[in-house]
């Protein structure tokens, strides 16, 4: 099974929960944002109840959480936005 590297960015409440701005992930080929979210739910108790991922962005564009990630992608979960 091949592996790929993906950069995961944390913002807002997720940065507070993760305690970091970003993390480099090594994922199996075919992994999706949903897979990454589920791994975070396992790692951080405060996320366990959040079964569905928040909005997902890949390379600074909104994307479907089940879209397959690719080598070098920049992934971010977007908690409910509150700009303005």
């Amino acid at each position: 099974m091949r592996a790929m590297k993906v950069r995961l960015l944390f913002f807002a409440v997720l940065r507070d929960i993760a305690g970091t701005d970003e993390r480099e992930l090594t994922l199996r080929d075919g992994a999706t944002a949903r897979d990454v979210w589920n791994a975070l739910r396992t790692e951080f108790a405060r996320l366990t109840d959040y079964i569905d991922p928040p909005m997902t962005a890949v390379n600074e564009e909104y994307a479907e959480p089940d879209q397959v990630l690719r080598e070098g992608d920049e992934l971010a979960f977007i908690p409910p936005v509150a700009g303005g």
């Binding site: 913002f11 962005a57 971010a76 409910p80």
Partner: protein, 137 residues
């Protein structure tokens, strides 16, 4: 370009967009208020996914310019720590006629609140909270 860490200067924003053919402009500013859902608020920290927020703001400007081709638009969102009375966002819409200026300005702030990756953490005597996160799951 659309994001700033400094206080917003709405007058400069108006000067940037106003053309001799414009008969009206509408300026909207969002301001940190001292309450939210019945709780006291003292300050707000605005966070953003900056490059993506810039792109989303640019998309919204183009979308609304397409809907209102005679209207000139400008927007700037402030990030960082703001206190009560500080402006977090300013939007200017200038047009030959006022109806388009009002409609474009209002549509702009409505759209920004839907999709631009900016977040706020409210701080008050009861503690602090990322707005919109609690209750969602």
């Amino acid at each position: 370009m659309y994001l700033t860490d400094a206080p917003i200067n709405p007058t400069a924003l108006v000067q940037k967009v106003l053309r001799p053919s414009d008969g009206a402009y509408v300026l909207f500013e969002g301001v940190v208020r001292n309450h939210h859902h019945g709780k006291a608020v003292e300050s707000i920290f605005y966070d953003a996914y900056r490059p993506m927020a810039e792109r989303e703001l640019e998309k919204i400007v183009r979308e609304i310019e397409a809907k209102f081709p005679e209207t000139a638009l400008a927007v700037v969102h402030r990030l960082g720590h703001l206190v009560v009375g500080d402006s977090s966002i300013a939007i200017v819409a200038a047009s030959a006629h006022r109806a388009e200026a009002f409609d474009a300005c209002r549509m702009m702030i409505d759209r920004i609140k839907e999709t631009v990756p900016i977040w706020k953490k409210e701080r008050g005597p009861d503690g602090e909270e990322w707005v919109g996160w609690q209750g969602r799951r």
